[in-house]
């Protein structure tokens, strides 16, 4: 039961708004020590876990390319591209991205989107430019709201798309954990049964995005 102390460390850390990196490291040490490991074993387990997960940070490799493209005017170009389209609204633009992101993730193409390689250089500037072309300069609050929604569609599309694809981490982890518990499950069926909730997520977020348009029009007033 002493191994549960680490959970308490995380909750206390969250409540006091300590730096998450410190909180997670402290929680790992407390959990291991509480679970009966000695300090050498805990530090080694932490190091092994960190080292085995290096593949998740390979995503940062795109940053030099993004930086060079931004330096050469990528965001400015993305803004001009979207500014000329009359039928587009912030909500519809984000809805289109959500659909493409969710479908491509469902086909296993998670690397097509992402916060560093799509949202920051393209989606967020396009959404801002769209709103500026309709209602003029943005206040900081409106700019933050639009950017936050651009980040949100990328997360939501990826999360509720990837679990439909059988060869991605999510489905593989589900079947592996079920096997550890002596339960058999076909990966195809796991992927299939993720789809009702995935569809519900798309519908719910689509409605919210269209309501975002209404909220932007109401608060900003048409020019």
């Amino acid at each position: 039961m002493m191994s549960l102390l680490g959970i308490g460390v995380v909750v206390a850390g969250l409540a006091t708004r300590l730096n998450p990196v410190l909180v997670v490291t402290a929680a790992a040490l407390v959990t291991g020590l509480g679970g009966g490991m000695d300090l050498f074993q805990v530090v080694s387990a932490l190091g092994k876990g960190f080292n085995d997960a290096r593949f998740v940070s390979v995503a940062f490799l795109v940053l030099p390319v993004i930086g060079l493209s931004e330096r050469a005017g990528l965001q400015a170009r993305a803004r001009t591209l979207i500014g000329g389209l009359r039928q587009v609204t912030v909500g519809r633009l984000l809805l289109a991205y959500l659909a493409v992101r969710q479908l491509s993730a469902a086909l296993g193409l998670l690397s097509l989107g992402g916060q560093a390689n799509m949202v920051r250089p393209l989606l967020a500037p396009m959404a801002e430019a769209e709103e500026e072309s309709k209602r003029g300069a943005l206040s900081n609050a409106r700019r933050s709201l639009i950017r936050a929604h651009a980040a949100a569609v990328d997360n939501i599309g990826a999360f509720f798309g990837e679990d439909i694809f059988i060869a991605l981490g999510s489905v593989l982890l589900v079947t592996a954990v079920l096997r550890q518990n002596h339960l058999a499950a076909d990966p195809l069926r796991v992927a299939l049964w993720a789809s009702p909730t995935a569809i519900a997520a798309f519908v719910i977020h689509a409605i919210r995005l269209l309501r975002l348009d209404a909220a932007l029009a109401r608060d900003g007033g048409a020019r």
Partner: protein, 315 residues
Amino acid sequence: MIGVGVAYALAGVVFAAIALFSVLDRANPKRWNNAAFWGLFALSFLAGGRLGDFANGLIVIALALIGGLGGLGVSHPATTSPEEREASAARLGGRLFVPILVIPACALAGTLLFKGVKIGGAPLVDPAQVTVIATAVGVVAALVLALALFRPPLAAAPQEARRLMDSVGWAAILPQLLAALGAVFALAGVGTAIGRLLDAWLPMDGRLMAVAAYCLGMTLFTMIMGNAFAAFPVMTAGVGAPLIVGRFGGDPAVMGAMGMLAGYCGTLMTPMAAHNIVPAALLELPSGAVIRAQAPTALMVAAANIVLMYLLVFR
């Protein structure tokens, strides 16, 4: 066989370059912190496989102390002005999109093509890590194209990478750190402890109760762990497998698929998840802005998910 080590070596070189340029940045009062942080991160990528688990663990602790206590400075390397960017965008036009679109194109093509390539019966590229390796190849191709098309000064690539990496800051190590926390939880037997606790204290006498406990447990525990993958083994061993499947005869595939999605709803709402911290840093948003945009959707989907699991898992 080409393994994932190629991608790690490339990442190590990028982080090492960022560390080097951090040392030279006299305008950053915390430049030694930045240099030590990115230098240690580079070391982990360049030599993590040879250092041994304990040394890697010491690197993790050092990174956490530098990033969490000492703090990193945000650098402002020289870049182009908004006017220069407008002019450059007008001149380059659609060519601006080429490098960033080359990366996903390579990732896609590599994932499809590398799997079939064999030399002497052995696969040329490690089949388990094809996408990561193909992405690294795409990055190199995109970098060459960007240098050829945009003709920036030579130091621009590492300096622009440093500008973006410093805006992410300590959050850069959080995804890996959360995965490591999950590994420690598994070794320390946290899952069985939680299972025993819930079994002793919660009245699990109805199907709806069991489904709600499993799904809410997944959502809440994911919010604590910052990661649904770390919560899933714990809640499934503790509640899902013994109760939903064992006692009430539910379908394991339905339970597993929807249980994981209950966790994803938690990820959308937690300040512990890199998915929320990294975009807030990249888009210069106040902390919590991304979570506020996501939370209403997450709550509605979490509720729909409980209803759907109750209706579908016992068919």
